[in-house]
Amino acid sequence: MTIEQINRSIDARGMPCPGPLLSLIGAIREGTVGDVIEVLSSDEGSKTDIPAWIQKARHELVAVTEEDGYTSFVIKKAR
């Protein structure tokens, strides 16, 4: 797996749905194409919400890692 340089990390742990997703959308909007953003979320819904939004918004889900009590998502802004 390619190690991506993380440009921005968002700690959304403890935030209820749809907080982590909205935080990601905000970061994507503020970023530039090619930026890699990490989101940490303990919200169970994020496991499907974030990939569903990435697919719809046509960005790239680089990695999903299950950690103890939360999930780490790494996303690349594709457009």
Binding site: G14, M15, P16, P18, G19, L22, D49
Partner: protein, 137 residues
């Protein structure tokens, strides 16, 4: 008919129901859907500029445990339903209108309403846009 529109009538003015509605609205707009909201009765009262950030209580079905859960959520400071609606408006089209009948009943003018509310509409105007199913909360 635009299948991507979500039409919601908000009737209840308690924080639990308004939080649920704001979650639904923000999720819809995040996924690219346009949202039309009509505020009636107690929901409209909750959108008064001088009251919107106050405690609006929880619905009877929440009970004591539900009220405590809502209080805990508020104390975590992850934002209220008001913050969520402001955030939703930055993501796409969210039209929040006041029902003119409820405005008259509550003796309100536009100046009494929070800036989240952009229009006052009669029911026919709302129905002209709300071409799909209507969610009533």
């Amino acid at each position: 008919m635009d299948d991507d529109r979500l039409s919601i009538v908000l009737f209840s003015g308690t924080d639990d129901r308004l939080q649920a509605a704001a979650t639904l609205i923000s999720g819809a707009v995040a996924m690219g859907r346009s949202v039309d909201v009509l505020l009636q009765y107690w929901a409209l009262d909750a959108f008064r500029a001088d009251r919107i950030n106050k405690d609006h209580g929880v619905s009877a079905e929440a009970g004591v445990e539900g009220a405590a859960a809502m209080r805990r959520q508020r104390e975590r400071e992850h934002g209220t339903w008001v913050d969520l609606l402001h955030q939703a408006k930055t993501l796409g089209e969210v039209n929040i209108s006041a029902c003119s009948h409820s405005m008259e009943m509550l003796e309100l003018t536009r100046a009494d309403l929070d800036r989240l509310v952009t229009n006052v509409h009669g029911i026919a105007t709302f129905m002209a846009t709300a071409t799909g199913p209507i969610t009533f909360i």
